[in-house]
Symmetry: C2
Subunit: 264 residues, 2 copies
């Protein structure tokens, strides 16, 4: 793994190397040994992107502040990619973080997977994907799954800003699931039935984005040191269907009625 | 919008222009009028990526075939990005499709948002994001939301391959939701209680990926012609919380018990 990273760095040394890479690609010098499909790809599409160890605390701070610009997915990307721009340079300098901001609120506000987890999984994929490996049991899947399980089973948010950018909040809750809808509504209830568009909920999601950014950097740092291994298989391999491990949140007779409480 | 696209095309005309763009960026010629944060970004991170009208049928065929390599998210990316590599070139040639494959199965097999919808929303974001706009009500969010609502309310799959790559299937179902877990299990029941790892389910998801790729291309083509407008607001703006619009699938007393049926 290190060998690949070094050869890649030698090949793409900053923006000059990047330009050289493009030129070499278009001159077809590498094309002889490629499959037809690979001829349509530049080096950037054929190899993982370089990762250097980052500061989890800085990731948290950057993510927290970025939330108030472009929300959850963008926040976590910012905590990680912004640091990689400084530490590595290209291709992170060319990565358009805001072009992924629509994944906020569980994808366009649909309350599916928490947008922070998409913001975590994108750099995980770019850094750890293996061109020849199967997707099942590949590092991006296993690492993403572990972070989702940590998210579902951890009291969040934990991050405390030096000075809250929106408001002070009290509650932290275990979501039981990576689903935005359940995660956010469970927290809103614990905070005292606050509304989705309240300052409290906004502050909570900003802090939670900080937690996910820091956690992702911790995991990627461990991976960079060669010490990472996955903790548990993704749910679809355990339960023989894709699912969220909080079965009784839907499959039980005690699911709450649809809440009607409005926003402040 | 066209003005921006044309100036962008003139600036980044193929891989030579791409290299030039990088060189100009590193020479700092553009840096004088940028905010500090923007100095760390290349042109590719500051502007939407070029889109040219594509064939929905070809998108469907490419997506269907790609499913058997790297599953749902990758499939839809392939149906769109592969064509943009031919029609536009960079930066699509440098876009590593497989680095997003871990979003399969509702994100790492967690059954959250259907992976095809992430594969649809990524190119939507890259093509239609607006650097200065707010994320709320921006095109990427509204377009993604409309496709999610179409997915939730349409009998799928509709795509019929000339020759099935895995097996023949009969059922098509309305998911009622963009959630992979409900979507896939509802179809599996309709097909005759087939298992998740069965050839039937694999064939169904491959065909559904074809449908989502074709639909996304149709929508982006309309947008490219300047005729696109969103159909309906995302759910979080309607219901004042992030949610999936299939409330009674969880919030009712008639939710099915956790299924125990195994796979074949």
């Amino acid at each position: 793994m290190d060998g690949r990273r070094i050869s890649r760095r030698a090949f793409l040394a900053g923006s000059t190397g990047f330009a050289l890479g493009m030129a070499v690609g278009s001159m077809g010098l590498l094309a002889g040994c490629m499959k037809p499909e690979q001829k349509k790809q530049s080096a950037l599409a054929r190899e993982p992107w370089e990762y250097q160890k980052l500061s989890p605390n800085k990731a948290a701070r950057l993510a927290y502040e970025a939330y108030f610009d472009n929300y959850c997915t963008y926040s976590v990307l910012k905590g990680i990619v912004e640091q990689l721009r400084d530490r590595v340079g290209e291709p992170w300098v060319s990565f358009p973080m805001k072009a992924f901001a629509q994944f906020h609120g569980g994808v366009a506000g649909w309350g599916t997977v928490c947008g922070t987890l998409i913001g975590a999984s994108i750099p995980i994929g770019l850094v750890t994907w293996e061109p020849e490996a199967d997707v099942y049991f590949e590092t991006p899947e296993l690492m993403t799954s572990d972070i989702m399980r940590w998210y579902a089973n951890t009291k969040l948010p934990q991050f405390k800003p030096e000075k809250p950018l929106r408001t002070e909040i009290k509650a932290s809750t275990v979501a039981g699931t990576p689903l935005c809808h359940i995660s956010v509504n469970r927290w809103m209830k614990a905070e005292g039935d606050v509304g989705f568009f309240s300052d409290y909920r906004v502050e909570r999601c900003a802090r939670l984005a900080a937690d996910v950014a820091a956690k992702t950097v911790e995991v990627l740092n461990t991976w960079r040191d060669g010490n990472w291994n996955y903790i548990m298989m993704p749910p679809y391999m355990i339960y023989e269907t894709t699912c969220q491990e909080n079965c009784r949140d839907c499959h039980s007779d005690s699911v709450p009625k649809v809440p009607t409480k409005g926003n402040p």
